[in-house]
Symmetry: C2
DNA sequence: CTGAAAGCGCTAACAA
DNA sequence: TTGTTAGCGCTTTCAG
């Protein structure tokens, strides 16, 4: 079934069919009905590839989400989709795994879908100018920024929290409640990911508070996964080190850690206080409820679209928006 | 940048470029090098739409995942991807929301990507023959089956657990531990989803055990979400009904329910036992750890690919595989 | 080993 | 309001 078959069956030309299918004006009611009848009867669905190819322009905005099934992104995506629609554009989303390269994906999309702009959700923090030459439309980084790359700030937009400062605040919260021996649970102190930025905030806070960094209280695991956080924490606890609080760089990792603590006889928050950053839904259903610095997910999505649309429409200059986090007081703090 | 530009720049013809890009043999080393150099220099990425269009056949197997970011699917997808690759095919995955129609998505993919077959992951249980005429390649339903539709069993394959029996087993487990007043938490007793099938298993078990169904112990909420389960449960608890156990039809819902119970002063498992079906990772990190009937996620993915590949290769007949669940003893049972 | 040319299915001028 | 036709960028015969 191609558009040609439909045209023949309906007794019209291919262009008429195309017009009907694309809601173009200037089609007689009668022709329209004939076409739709045939389309319906044969369950015809146009070939998207051919469609994209033939089109000379689009109203598409691409969204590349890295880190499949990260619950943290769900709300942001909803907000983004909503805003893109409201702004009169079409969202084209592509999810990829953490092992895939979001820039290559975006470059492909840009050509295939003739994108007007791109929103990256969860990407690397180290893009280089050279890599980004394959992207020829404006883009905004959502939830992250080019901390470790060499991009000019005027060449891209971003919306995120201040990860360094948020980590600082988390540690400060613990400090203010009397904690001095604060462990940090992360996926790498210099892995070039957001983990590193947050670690730097942790380190800065300790320094400000006059607490020397104790290498032994740095718990490094291989991923951001709950399972690895659990086993990593468990292993670390065997050393029986002295500490009264844990700052986990993500909710997910905190969840794994809390189970490990529980199983090692450490009560949260009586024996150990736990704080994290993110504010995903699941951590609100833990027992005890996790205390965490929430990222304003919905606002981030809204702002990302706003930034991009402004640039697309008015050729405005790129901007970098930092949104505040808010402490969600759970039950994991003493 | 099109293939033409590359050809011109490299001083060869477009077909040579195409050959290089597709790893075809019969290309001289020298030509290959010239082309690759240009490709690299200009960061050229071929247009996927054009590529798909031009191709006459493919080795693509489509995977349509409904219910974005359902953590339950992650492991299955990994297994599916792995097996498809090993079988020498290419996986083309598309994620859609629960509000989207997976059949339409699949039909589009079938044409766009010239699919050899399709795996549906999490779909409706009520496909009709008429709807499926738009699909012209073999397909297998993974984690579900056509319980409420009118498909011939010989027209599609499926791999799943026995939802009815699993629910039965869950209730039986509770019964064997002395529970007689067993509430059920579901998203609808006749919503035509897996919730209904599991409810039917619950009802069958009660009947077998000589326990009359108490409408008041049926807790119906609007979705499968953790938040709705929480608020729904909380509201239900206000009635202060007499019960000693809850069977939640999904882990997610059980997680919401457990928080509600906790906040209402009911201890799990001392006051109330909780059991569910699914076995997602998060529920293993709850406190107490959720007892649940685990679906064999990896096996399901492996089996789904096997079923499909068998049909694609040997034109074998369609089959329906039922995999067993296993009880993961947590701490939520007394 | 290489190139010319005919599609793939659709859209969008351009004519009528 | 309609139909004709030239691409869109790539793959793939078929000759050379």
């Amino acid at each position: 079934m191609t558009i040609k078959d439909i045209a023949r069956l309906a007794g019209v030309s291919v262009s008429t069919v195309s017009r009907v299918l694309n809601d173009h004006p200037d089609v007689s009611e009668i022709a329209k009905e004939k076409v739709l009848a045939v389309v319906d009867e044969y369950n015809y669905i146009p070939n998207t590839s051919a469609r994209e190819l033939g089109k000379s322009s689009s109203d598409n905005i691409g969204v590349v989400v890295r880190g499949m099934s990260n619950p943290f992104y769900t709300k942001i995506i909803t907000a983004i989709g909503d805003r893109i629609e409201k702004a009169g554009y079409t969202m084209v989303m592509q999810q990829i795994g953490t092992e895939d390269d979001e820039v290559i994906t975006a470059a492909k999309m840009e050509r295939d879908k003739r994108l007007l702009g791109i929103i990256f959700l969860g990407g690397r923090l180290n893009y280089t100018k050279d890599q980004m030459t394959s992207i020829n439309v404006p883009y905004v980084c959502c939830t992250f920024y080019n901390e470790y790359g060499n991009l000019d700030r005027s060449d891209y937009s971003s919306v995120s929290i201040d990860d360094n400062q948020s980590a600082y605040n988390a540690v400060e919260t613990l400090y203010n409640r009397g904690h001095r021996k604060i462990a940090v649970l992360l996926s790498g102190a210099k892995d070039g990911s957001v983990s590193q930025v947050r670690y730097e905030g942790y380190a800065r806070a300790l320094k400000d508070f006059g607490i020397p960094i104790d290498e032994k209280l740095i718990i490094e695991i291989d991923s951001y996964s709950i399972a690895d956080a659990y086993t990593g924490m468990k292993k670390w606890l065997k050393q029986n080190l002295d500490f009264t609080a844990v700052f986990a760089i993500s909710d997910n990792m905190a969840m794994g850690a809390m189970k490990a603590l529980r199983e090692c006889g450490k009560k949260v928050p009586e024996d150990v206080s736990v704080i994290a950053i993110d504010g995903i839904e699941a951590s609100e259903y833990m027992n005890p409820v996790l205390s965490t610095l929430c990222q304003p997910m919905e606002k981030m999505g809204i702002e990302a679209v706003k930034l991009l649309v402004d640039i697309i429409r008015d050729k405005n200059i790129h901007r970098h928006v930092i949104l505040p986090t808010s402490l969600r007081e759970g039950e994991s703090l003493k």
